[in-house]
Amino acid sequence: MKRTTWIWAGGALAAGCVAAAAWMLQPSIAAVAPPSPAEFEPAAIARGARVVAQGDCMVCHTAKGGEPYAGGLALRTPFGTIYTTNITPDAATGIGGWSLAAFTRALRHGVARDGHLLYPAFPYIHYTRMSTADIGDAYAYLMTRAPVAARAPDNELIFPLGFRPLLAGWNLLYLRPGPESDDAAQSVEWNRGRYLVDGAGHCASCHSTLDPIGGERSPAFSGGNIDGWDAPALTALLHAPKPWTREQLALYLRHGWSPDHGAAAGPMSPVAHSLSQAPAEDAEAMATYLMSLQAPAAPAATPAPPAGPQTAQVMQGQTLFNGACASCHGAAAPMMAAGGRPPLSLSGAVAGASPDNLIQTMLNGIPWTHPQPSTFMPAFAASLNDAQIASIAAYLRADAGRRPAWTGLEKRVADLRKENQP
């Protein structure tokens, strides 16, 4: 990030800090004895499971290979590394001592039980939209999980962000507490979709560009970048090689895959897996709302231009593709003949404005992350070097994508490889 940006960020934080002095100190809410699971109605726990799936809570609050909800996952942000917290009902290291009032305040206002302000990596600016009933059900579900004693490592943040009261200034700028009222002009399903997308689903956290102090820019859903992956704009779904439909989007959100677009990869894979645990009507409502946000489709597609010039890089890419990729992705491959697999010409990773998702998919593959059947692709980070990955990307862009060439590919591969290092 540029130096001026940091100066700007520092200035804004300082100003916000003064303005928000009165907000900076929040009272502690007394610890309670961890409630017994018997105190919660089974129906509330079951509803809570659905809310927690909508909110993808487990995705961030579980370390790689760690116990569910026990936290400890490192979130790398431009401001340093934040470790997610333990949200199992362990009294000493989790939220076992949190009353429903404390839990609600955390979701609505970003304040921990003891009064310290939480970092906005925890998307309370979205969770604040959740209904009181849903928050209560999520509490019932989380408080009935197995308690795990696990303390997250200390955050590693740039000065002066370790001083949490500064967040009060940030909250003045970005937090609008409380649920939104329904839009009477829209259908029940649309309103439900907006509630899930803007609230628990917190889609804009990744799919919006962030300003220099980590606030979501308006308009929302114009596309962002997370962990070195592009989170595509959610307002240009009609510009895909095959325009998205509500049905395809609903399928993708729950299955991590669309026969006309490709597979969810990177940070979207766990989101789709989480939504698969909620009923189909939730993904359908989200799709209904998201499809209402679309910019008009591009004018009727002009006939695809011929494949780009056969540069040396493109030809090298074709050679490598034939040896490394074609046994699955080639037109005659048994996997393609089996049906349901989109050709790479329809892939958002090939058609996108940036090569990041194509490069990342080649470097990392699409790993198995859970026991259910899912998309899989092996990683090529060890077998192909930066120039080789770059040449395959150039070949696919020209041949399958028929889109203008990306520039600076080899450097981008090197940069993303570095960013992927733990």
Binding site: G65, S383, N385
Partner: protein
């Protein structure tokens, strides 16, 4: 013409540069340790080391190997003088049908060269891409663990 360096020996071959490394190893160089399993990078029977990293030989084109160094199970030892990893697999009788074993040994070798003292979780996570249909995983893990404890595999310095 392609040049291919395998187990320290440089070969010159006349192959389509898209040819998978595995085919060159087995057909041209007659190094038949690495096996063809799925041809899709999903089983690991073809695992060899490319610049000390485990890769699927079936999905690694010859064109990707130019100027790089390949190691196969034949480079670790032979029946008379097995390397430490091979000896431990034999001692633990980790092979049943044996089809996956060359790939297992090479992936395990790469782990210990990078991390000489892995814990059980690290061994399991590292070996995950390689499948064994006979189900000898527990013996495979025991064999790797014993080599790790004996520290017989020397770490390789990072390039």
């Amino acid at each position: 013409m392609n040049t291919l360096t395998v187990n320290g020996v440089r070969h010159t071959l006349d192959l389509d540069p898209s040819t998978p490394l595995l085919y060159a190893l087995r057909n041209q160089l007659e190094l038949n340790g690495a096996k063809f399993g799925c041809g899709l990078g999903q089983c690991g029977a073809c695992t060899v080391l490319l610049d000390d990293q485990p890769v699927f030989g079936c999905l690694t084109p010859m064109a990707a190997c130019e100027g790089r160094s390949v190691r196969t199970i034949e480079g670790l030892g032979n029946a008379e003088h097995p390397g430490p990893m091979q000896a431990s697999f034999i001692k633990h009788q980790a092979a049943q049908c044996g089809y996956c074993i060359a790939g297992m040994v090479m992936r395990a070798q790469a782990l210990l060269e990078q991390n000489p003292q892995p814990n059980q979780a690290q061994i399991r996570a590292h070996m995950e891409p390689n499948l064994c249909r006979c189900g000898t995983h527990m013996r495979i893990i025991a064999a790797i663990s014993e080599v790790a404890l004996s520290r017989q595999v020397k770490p390789r310095s990072k390039p």
